[in-house]
């Protein structure tokens, strides 16, 4: 139906990601404010069942095609563009992740409509949609509107809490057909899994994360000891993994794992948006960084500018003592 708010569900390997629900929550708000419907576009192959958590939406537009099984940006954008042309929604909210990066741009280019990226929030002012976007790695925010509709909005993770967008209920699902070209110039071959680490960081209650501030591979030992004392595991931000100091399976962030531990100790991590994306939902975040301006302090509950290399061993000692005290005299 024309004038509706659409959300592109992020489906990857047969599952819907957390950010889908965040964007659904946002879309729902916008739809309500405008008095129109919220529809979720689900692209996949034999994945209709995924719609059963999308109860917050008024409807789901499901496109089933073998070519949509694997995440190719062109096939997704081709399918989405066809839908948009046919049904003329007011706007399409696309979650911005590694899976969908490029879809919004290709759709906008094909339909010659505006795209607004890096959106953290969308609101309705005098019937017009206004986006609040984050630029320059988080250093500036802009309020942006589009010149015409339909508009494609790229939504940055964290716009709304995921719980608000999730409802264990199957909305009305409309199956739509699209035509996609046969021989595609981009052919999916396979997934390369990260080396099976002994540790699954997404299952840990406690994570001690290290960033560039740890300065050398040797110092990671300090984090290991603290992690051990707390019964958790060590993980890292991208630069640490790029240097080869920790395996890929320990990377937290946009290209790594999204984690929600009970405790996240960030040592020597500046808090770049790509990393924060991966850990901002931890229950308790304690940040250690010698730079008082580090953005990590905006997302942590507790912080200190002590040197991690000095503080970590003291913490480990303190925790070991406290634990042995609790255990009582032996």
């Amino acid at each position: 139906m024309a004038g509706n708010i659409w959300v592109l569900a992020e489906q990857w390997r047969g599952r819907l990601s957390e950010i889908t629900y965040e964007v659904v929550a946002l879309g729902s708000e916008v739809a309500t404010a405008l008095g129109v419907k919220l529809q979720v576009v689900l692209l996949g192959h034999k994945m209709k069942g995924l719609a059963d958590t999308l109860g917050r939406a008024d409807g789901v537009l499901y496109v089933d095609h073998p070519a949509l099984e694997e995440p190719r940006v062109e096939t997704q954008s081709a399918a989405l563009a066809q839908l948009i042309q046919a049904q003329q929604p007011r706007c399409v909210l696309i979650p911005l992740t590694n899976v969908t990066l490029g879809v919004g741009t290709l759709v906008a280019a094909q339909l010659q409509v505006p795209e607004i990226s890096f959106c953290q929030d969308l609101c309705v002012l005098e019937g017009k949609l206004q986006a609040r976007c984050v630029l320059y790695g988080g250093k500036m925010e802009v309020l942006v509107t589009a010149v015409r509709e339909p508009t494609v909005f790229g939504i940055w993770p964290g716009a709304r809490p995921a719980e608000k967008g999730r409802a264990e209920q199957m909305p009305a699902v409309e199956e739509v057909a699209v035509t996609l070209p046969e021989a595609l110039p981009v052919r999916f071959k396979r997934y390369i899994e990260p080396e099976a680490g002994d540790v699954d960081v997404t299952q840990q209650d406690v994570l001690v994360a290290v960033g560039r501030g740890i300065q050398s591979q040797d110092n990671i030992e300090l984090a290991e000891e603290l992690a051990q004392a707390l019964g958790g595991a060590v993980c890292g931000s991208r630069p640490v993994i790029d240097q080869g100091w920790l395996p890929l399976s320990r990377q937290i962030g946009k290209s790594g794992a999204i984690v929600k531990p009970k405790l996240y100790v960030a040592a020597g991590i500046s808090g770049a948006p790509e990393h924060v994306e991966g850990m901002k939902n931890a229950a308790l975040i304690v940040a250690i960084n010698t730079d008082p301006q580090a953005p990590i302090f905006n997302v942590a509950q507790y912080g200190t500018t002590a040197d991690a290399l000095d503080l970590l061993p003291l913490l480990t000692e303190g925790i070991r003592k406290a634990i042995s005290k609790k255990a009582g005299p032996s």
Binding site: S216, Q217, D218, Q243, T290, D310
Partner: protein, 675 residues
């Protein structure tokens, strides 16, 4: 009774000697000429200037044997052997000449009542010296001293020369027992021993001839052996000293050629660098004082020079015969005989250069090879980042240029802007004093002290960039030149009389490597020199004496490089502290390990004991010393870190000289006394 007058078999002795002599000389000359041709493969370097100064060097270091006495146990024997060599050179030449011309009576040393005893006594002195040095070499076995076949052969040859000479003397005395009246105590003593045997007495003439021939043939053998062994340092070192670097050590030579910077193959080194390989006696003194080597790093100045010699001997011939095309003649020295790690772990402290008895310049070889590594883009990730930041922001911290004067924000007053108004003293701070959060309070201390003393000083605010000292020593010559251009332009525009720096590295390069800075007009000083001046003249008034016991670390770039040892000590004396010198002080000061760009590089894993840790332990071992006083920001950072890693934080604290001066000169101050 000239031995060669006698026939040996069918041939006259002198004929055999002539043949041996000509043969030996030919082989010697051929080999020496070959070595000279190898040296000529190196590129040209002008070391022929200021000849009187060069002669003076030879007198001091070759004849004066100055550096050798740094280690007296071997120094004294070496002096004896060296002078013994000179003495025997004269004596043996005389013997040889007489032997070649048996029918001509030539004046000889042996017949001179004044000279003969000298030779006689020296034979014993040399043997004594050899005994001590052999004991040291084979029993004590000091680190770094290479046990080679060469060394053993040489020791045996010298010993046999002395022994054969004594026997020549002795049997001569027995054969012709008349008193010549010349005092030859050693020869007489040997003659006394030998004379006890009937057999020896009977054959005295024959034995005299025998030992004469042995002596002369050993000398000729030695002559041939010399240029094939490490003992060629005998010939090469006087030249090495003559052609040594007269410029201040803090002034590095610019690259020889503009196209491809640095050196990794023989023709890219200078002839003087190649000569150092021949002049090196493999004594190991350099290695024994190298802070990197002592902490277990793969860095060894001795090996570096040795490898250069090896490279030259192995691959030089291919260059001489031009058998193969140029790029196939020689594998690169970097990654071949010398690993990049051996080059990157050098702190450029110059302890090796300071110690070397033959005045080798290990540092220039390291820097030239580093230049080539940079040219090839082969730098580790941390150094890569530091260089990028230095190129883009003018500091290695990667912070904005505009934050360079952020330290002044909590100062309480605004220092003059030397770009806008004239000042008497321009304070060129250096990036560590400006950007390092742990050091900014010390910078403020100094600023307050100067303000209180009403010194007319100013800073360059955002226009100050890294002076380039360590960048040059890391081998990034292009970046050094770029920064030097920018800084020189900034300095030209500023109006000031004199310049001082908190950082010895900055001080070194501004003083020695900025020729465009008019040194006639502007003096370049270290802040300790300025403080001493201020205290001496009374412009800075002491309010109290400080009751501390301290020790002082001589920064490499202030002390060894530029000879400033007194000013900081004078300041400390005036402050009233009790100064206990560390065992390794002044020119023997032990580097903190941060120089030469080491603070910008990856730390080597599994190092036994870092130089900074070694040094703080040395400081802590002095009884009752509370503070280790430093005059360089990098020293402060390195030693503060080392106190933590060695667990000595409770025992010792690091204080910059500026902090102590502030304590002694401010009206009211809270004294924080640790330990």
């Amino acid at each position: 009774m000239i031995p060669t007058a006698v026939r040996l078999g069918p041939l006259p002795g002198w004929l055999i000697l002539w043949v041996a002599f000509v043969l030996a000389l030919a082989l010697f000359a051929r080999r020496v000429w070959f070595l000279v041709r190898l040296l000529r493969l190196g590129h040209w370097e002008n070391r022929f200037d200021r000849l009187p100064e060069r002669v003076k060097r030879v007198v001091t270091y070759v004849f004066g044997q100055l550096r050798l006495l740094d280690e007296p146990l071997v120094g004294i024997p070496h002096v004896l052997i060296f002078y013994g060599f000179l003495v025997f050179l004269v004596s043996t030449s005389g013997m040889l000449l007489q032997g070649l011309l048996p029918n001509v009576h030539l004046p000889s040393v042996e017949e001179n009542r004044y000279l003969a005893p000298v030779v006689d006594i020296f034979a014993v002195l040399v043997l004594g010296g050899l005994a001590v040095s052999s004991f040291r070499r084979f029993v004590i076995r000091p680190a770094g001293l290479q046990q080679t076949v060469d060394a053993t052969v040489v020791n045996i040859m010298i010993a046999s020369l002395m022994v054969t000479y004594l026997f020549v003397e002795a049997f001569g005395m027995i054969a012709v027992p008349h008193e010549s009246g010349i005092w030859l105590p050693a020869g007489r003593w040997v003659a006394g021993l030998a004379g006890k045997s009937e057999f020896l007495r009977a054959g005295a003439v024959s034995f005299h001839h025998l030992f004469w021939w042995m002596h002369v043939l050993t000398v000729l053998g030695f002559l041939v052996f010399l240029p094939y062994s490490k003992h060629m340092h005998l010939m090469a070192s006087p030249f090495n000293v003559f052609f040594s670097q007269l410029d201040p050590p803090g002034r590095l030579a610019p690259p020889a050629q503009a196209e491809k910077l640095g050196a990794e193959n023989i023709p890219e080194f200078s002839w003087r660098q190649l000569l150092s390989g021949f002049a090196c006696a493999e004594c190991g003194r350099c290695e024994r004082v190298c802070p990197s080597h002592l902490s277990g790093e793969p860095c060894s100045p001795r090996e570096l020079v040795h490898n250069l010699k090896e490279q030259l001997l192995r691959y030089g011939p291919a260059w001489l015969n031009q058998a193969r095309p140029a790029d196939e003649r020689e594998p690169s020295m970097i990654g071949g005989l010398t690993a990049p790690a051996a080059l990157w772990t050098c702190t450029t402290c110059m302890a090796c250069v300071e110690r070397c008895p033959v005045l080798n310049e290990h540092l220039s070889i390291v820097v030239d090879m580093r230049r080539r590594l940079v040219e090839r883009g082969e730098v580790d990730a941390r150094l890569d980042e530091a260089l990028r930041n230095l190129g883009r922001y003018g500091n290695s911290f990667g912070q904005s240029e505009r934050k360079r004067a952020a330290w002044t924000q909590t100062l309480g007053f605004k220092p003059k802007d030397a770009r806008k108004e004239p000042v008497e003293w321009l304070w060129y701070l250096g990036e560590y004093a400006c950007y390092h959060s742990g050091l900014q309070e010390i910078t403020r201390s100094l600023a307050r002290v100067l303000q209180a003393a009403q010194v007319d000083f100013g800073i360059l605010y955002e226009a100050e960039r890294n002076s380039g000292n360590d960048i040059r020593r890391v081998g990034e010559e292009g970046l050094f030149e770029l920064l030097r251009e920018k800084n020189t332009a900034t300095l030209r525009q500023a109006q000031f009389k004199n310049l001082f720096s908190t950082d010895p590295h900055v001080y070194n390069t501004l003083k020695n490597e900025y020729p465009e800075l008019d040194h006639g007009q502007h003096g370049v000083y270290h802040y300790t020199e300025l403080l001493w001046d201020l205290l001496r003249s009374g412009q800075l008034k002491l309010k109290r004496k400080l009751p501390y016991r301290v020790t002082y670390h001589d920064p490499c770039y202030l002390g060894r490089y530029n000879g400033v040892y007194e000013a900081p000590r004078a300041v400390l004396r005036m402050l009233g502290v009790e100064l206990k010198e560390m065992p390794r002080s002044r020119r023997n000061s032990f580097c903190c390990g941060g120089g030469g760009g080491r603070v910008w590089m990856e730390e080597t894993r599994g190092v036994e004991s870092r130089p900074s840790e070694n040094r703080v332990r040395e400081a802590a071992s002095a009884d009752g010393v509370q503070f280790l006083v430093v005059a360089c920001p990098k020293d402060h950072v390195m030693f503060s870190d080392a106190l933590k890693t060695t667990g000595l934080e409770g025992r010792l604290a690091i204080k910059d000289l500026a902090e102590l001066v502030e304590e002694a000169t401010t009206v009211a101050v809270e004294v924080e006394c640790t330990a």
